[in-house]
């Protein structure tokens, strides 16, 4: 294969380049989110994340000093714009340069740095690139100091502020814990139930086995939507209502068909000799199951566990219906979709950070357990 003559070299290059392009296209959206989550709020709206490492031109407004000196018949105010009260905090590090300045909010960078501009009350203002300014007027300025607008190249700033905000003030920490609370029991409980059932369907002879397997294959594709109303009503009738208990049970029920199907497919493939040998030696089904089948099925159990974990962690629909919609029990997906998108709609840094907090754990699980995930996918689909 490797040595088909001629065309091979160009082909190889074409393949390599197209794969690189594909991978880049696939990664761009996520990288954008990742970069944005570390950027300063003002910088996000001022420049795209793709130029995040470069400095950004931001506009500010401030007032000059209020104490003029007299120079002949002129009133003069001098100083450095970066030290004025309204912006001093922003420019503490002090490596910004001014590109332009203005005297109205409509045209904050009307005049280039170093030139002279006229203020509305007839004074003259000069702001240099390094921030020094000089204001002259024939009349005595009022005691608030002249209003100055300016645009400055500010160096890129990466902060953890967004993470701090989202984790402390937006109840996202609560939502994170809630997601965890929903996910773990909803992952563990179906596994055991499914494992016993899968063993019976794989290794026990009984009438109706084929029919049961067919039913489970059918249930695999039942749309969740059908289950919502009747089950919620049922939960309300038996007193569970919208609660964690309810969502654990719902996830368990919804996860079972896939669990049974995956585990049965795997268990059927286990060597017959071992199981029959054990039977001949007098082992009961219960012993065979716990001592032989369960340990041997570990890869399939792990596959399903990862599936169920990802599915319950990422779920929005079930959580919206089976959990109450107050801050105390919202999971992260609901929190983002129903709360943050509304209340923080324009605050891209916070949104990016929230999304990143919610996808961090599953992505981590994905990269560490990918082997089992792939195996599970293959067992579930290719037969």
């Amino acid at each position: 294969m490797e040595n088909i003559a001629g065309q091979n070299n160009t082909l190889k290059w074409a393949v390599n380049i197209s794969v690189v392009l594909l991978v880049v296209a696939w990664l761009i959206p996520t990288v954008g989110l990742f970069v944005s989550s570390f950027r300063d709020r003002d910088q996000i709206t001022a420049s795209g994340w793709w130029v995040a490492p470069f400095s950004v031109e931001l506009t500010f407004r401030t007032r000059g000093d209020a104490t003029p000196t007299q120079d002949g018949d002129l009133w003069v105010i001098e100083g450095n714009i970066f030290d004025t009260a309204e912006v001093a905090e922003t420019f503490e590090s002090g490596d910004a340069t001014i590109t332009g300045f203005g005297v109205t909010a409509r045209a904050p960078d009307e005049f280039p740095a170093g030139t002279e501009g006229e203020t509305r009350d007839g004074g003259l203002l000069t702001v240099n690139a390094d921030g020094s300014y000089r204001f002259t007027s024939t009349e005595e300025p009022d005691d608030r100091g002249p209003r100055v607008y300016f645009a400055a190249e500010t160096p890129p700033s990466f902060t953890l502020d967004n993470y701090r905000t989202i984790l402390t003030s937006d109840n996202m920490d609560r939502a994170f814990i809630n997601t965890l609370t929903v996910t773990i029991p909803a992952t563990i409980i179906p596994i055991l139930i499914a494992a016993f059932a899968a063993y019976a369907l794989a290794w026990m002879e009984f009438p109706g086995r084929g029919l049961l397997i067919a039913v489970i294959v059918g249930l695999l594709v039942v749309p969740l939507q059908l289950a919502l109303v009747p089950l919620l009503n049922l939960h309300n009738r038996i007193g569970i209502g919208q609660s964690f208990v309810g969502i654990w049970m719902a996830h368990t029920g919804f996860g079972l068909p896939l669990a049974i199907y995956l585990l049965r497919n795997y268990m059927v493939g286990l060597p017959r000799d071992i199981i029959e040998g054990a039977k001949v030696d007098g082992a009961t089904d219960f012993q065979i199951f716990t001592k032989i089948i369960l340990p041997l099925s570990f890869p399939a159990l792990a596959s399903f566990a990862i599936f169920q974990f990802l599915w319950t962690w990422n779920d929005l629909l079930v959580a919206k219906v089976f959990l109450p919609s107050d801050d105390a029990s919202r999971v992260m997906t609901v929190k983002i979709a129903d709360d943050l998108l509304g209340s923080r709609g324009g605050d891209w840094g916070i949104l990016a950070t929230a999304a990143f907090v919610s996808i961090g754990v599953p992505v981590l699980v994905f990269f560490t357990m990918q082997r089992y995930l792939v195996r599970g996918l293959l067992a579930g689909s290719v037969k």
Partner: protein, 325 residues
Amino acid sequence: MSPLLQGALTILVGVFGCVGYFYAANLVLDKFIFPAKGPHTGRNINRANAVRPWLFLFPAIFALSLYLVYPVIGSLIRSLHNRAGDEFIGLGNYAFLFSDPTFLTALFNNALWALVVPASATFLGLVVAQLTDRLSWGNIAKSLIFMPMAISFVGASLIWKFVYAGDPDIGIINAIRDNFGWELVDPVQLPFWNNFFLMAILIWIQTGFAMVILSAALRGIPEETVEAAIIDGAGPLQLFFKIKVPQIMGTIVVVWTTITILVLKVFDIVYTMTGGNFGTDILPSYMMSFMFRDDGRATAVAVVIMIVVLPVMIWNIRQARQEMR
């Protein structure tokens, strides 16, 4: 009690409950009901073995009937009743649906989704699988393209909100348009085409799934057929379309149907991106607009979704039965 503690307790109760149930049930069966001793030992063992599968299956069957079989029937019945659920109105809810233009839009959009998303995801997945097949860094590339599978639909929607944002300093699409001096657009508000921009998100997620399965299928193709084709002078494209694709057709169909079923259930993307506005409603999101408000109509939409899925379900069952023979 804090939910976390409650969760830990539930795990304990669940796990020990299950193990305890299976252990005790087996014990009772073997020791008391059909003891393997006394005058009827043989008959008892046979009977115990006939009952045992049902012991193993009982919790699963119980949960499945309660959480999947019962709701199917329950939804069907509920959809024939009015909003309050106290009056039988026959097909009234369905009549309402088919006279509601929003429903018809949702149905049409859903058909679009069900055609475009599985086709694109499967095609892209196949292309990536083939391209990365012999690549030295193929596994890394695959892993990165597979990664969106781990991201929730809500998370993915947010990620793409950044891509689609109307502000050229946030959305990369508008940044590019701005760069060329073109008019800025808001992709999710463009009538009709916005559907395709939303579909792109699901395609982005599902391509990895198609790729993983198709790549395994490609690896499974017997080398001899490929070698024979090369000796007969087949070019790379011919090799791919005439030799490889036909041999993995079965897998392609499985991938296609799996993604189709998923498409019919996903409401998160539309819900997060547009809330069903701008003519982007699909059936699942349309259903959510009735959820908690009008159970009759909500279940009627669910039943429509079920009817759409039904052919796939029947096909799946037939496939599974064939394999077992």
